[in-house]
């Protein structure tokens, strides 16, 4: 059975409650007009919790847990270095470290340290998409630790810093003010 399905029993209760509330005139939402096509079903809080995996730039969505630079070095060496190099600079995939002061040169190096405007993006992305061959396999502690190591390698935090849901959104990224809203059409 579909893990997000609702039992018939619960459905009947929902329908009865909704009907009662509509008749009582206290239900402002769910009118016949708005749900006129009769499709979809309410999402439960549990379902939303299970699916709601994003982390936004204010840090909303960050889970409990914490990470250290030292632990991050171990996780990175074991799970990331094969694609990003042992110091995050060697590749073959995206370079993650260094590149500061290269954005105006003929060979800009866009890394976490030189280009990314928000530290929270690291959690959102690494948790959902990394490692490339096993996405979503890192625990929150491993994810926070890899982030701590990457921020330390980019000289953004100190080696003894702890990264968690409170500290990560407060990290000031060097290129935080490097972006402007789309001004196009800009070529005349």
């Amino acid at each position: 059975m579909d893990k997000y399905g609702t039992s018939m029993h619960k459905r009947i209760i929902v329908v009865i409650v909704a009907l009662a509330m509509t008749l009582g005139g206290v239900w402002a939402g769910w009118t016949a007009e708005e749900s006129g096509y009769g499709v979809g079903r309410p999402a439960t809080d549990d379902e939303i919790r299970a699916w709601n995996m994003d982390v936004n730039s204010t840090g909303e969505g960050l889970p409990p847990g914490q990470g250290t630079v030292k632990h991050g070095a171990q996780v990175f060496a074991a799970k990331c270095a094969m694609c990003h190099g042992s110091t995050g600079t060697e590749g073959p995939k995206d370079r993650l470290v260094g590149g500061q002061n290269t954005l105006t040169t003929t060979k800009p190096i866009r890394t976490i340290g030189s280009y990314w405007p928000y530290a929270t993006t690291l959690y959102d992305y690494i948790h959902r998409a990394m490692p490339f061959i096993a996405p979503q396999s890192l625990t929150p502690d491993e994810t926070y630790s890899v982030i701590a190591w990457l921020l330390f390698q980019n000289q953004i935090i100190t080696e003894d810093a702890t990264i968690d849901a409170q500290t990560l959104p407060k990290v000031q990224m060097p290129n935080r003010n490097g972006f402007i809203p789309d001004p196009r059409p800009d070529v005349r």
Partner: protein
Amino acid sequence: MNEEVQNMNRRTFLQQSVSLMAVGAAALAVPPVHAEKSETAMDPMRVPGALPRPYGERSPFETQQRLGAGGPGSPHGWGANAPNNINSTTPLQDLHGIVTPSALHFERHHNGVPAIDPARHRLLVHGLVDRPMIFTLGDLERVPAVSRLAFLECSGNSWDCWFDKAPDFSVQELHGLTSTSEWTGVKLSTLLETVGVQRGASWMLAEGSDAAGLDRSVPLTNEVSNEAMICYGQNGEALRPEQGYPLRLLLPGFEGNINVKWLRRLKLGNAPFMTRWETAKYTDLMPDGKAYQFSLVMEAKSVITSPSGRQQIHPGFHEIRGLAWSGRGRVTKAEVSVDGGRSWQLAHLQEPVLPRCHTRFRLPWRWNGQEAILQSRCTDETGYVQPTRQDLVKVRGTNSVYHYNAIQSWRVERDGQVRNIYA
């Protein structure tokens, strides 16, 4: 085809015919093998043709295909190159009209094409809504549907053209990350009315159920409300897996990446979420070190698809053919130059000319065997004119990776070879 092969086919066919006669009418149900052979028979008027079949294939003589490619500057193709390919390009030089066959629609995905069972797929809509809801594919197929033709272009299309030296590439290799389909689905506004948008909801996170879990923030502007669709249909059938089966977001005119495929979740919020795909990537670095962010619209662009890069032509008549499109609306004009932009002629626009859709243009031309530089330039309904490469680079430099839309120049050399150049 050589004679031996033809004779063999004929022999095989005759043998099969004899056996067919012997076995009787029941055998007529068999023939895939018979069908293939008869297609290559010497005289199609003297042998029975293929029987009806459940799902059609193109003629075996048609071999146009997508070309795989890696990042900017990487080689194109399959074979040894395949494991490094991150996209595949549409063979623009081989296509007719404006619709891209689904099998040739360009691909760009960020950790492969997921295999999704539509019966298990769900779309969750939540965040700043009155009624967080879950929809099945069947739910979405039941509500009033809309169809429209629209192009989709990767904002990384033509990225090799930012390089200082013009690469010796075909139109497919240079510009093949654009395609047009007829898309069918539900208007986003229909879905949002069903869940009830709360005051203050101004952005929407769209998330795919691929291994990249690709997530992008969509501004909930009036334009997006009017144009956006949740699609399940492409060119009359279900979406191809490479284009998001079973559900994708479609934002006509916006860069490909934000048209999130394998769509599983929409979350309404009051600010952009600042995902990797709208910060570290898909932002356009300018010469002063600042980057354009949420540069979503694909600006007007055109390209001559024939004659085009790496083709060989002969003196005499040619119909110059190309495609023009604009993410801001309709193409109103396509002009062609055969002298590197010194003079321009108005090309004929093939109807239908639709907003945010590939538009086919054509111009008759007689090549006299002298060197010629072919260019096309389009104008859209906002009055925007496709820029020269020089003007584009003057403003944006050469580091922006994305959103290259300058005029393409093809040099026809005296030997009839057509080459990509910067003119």
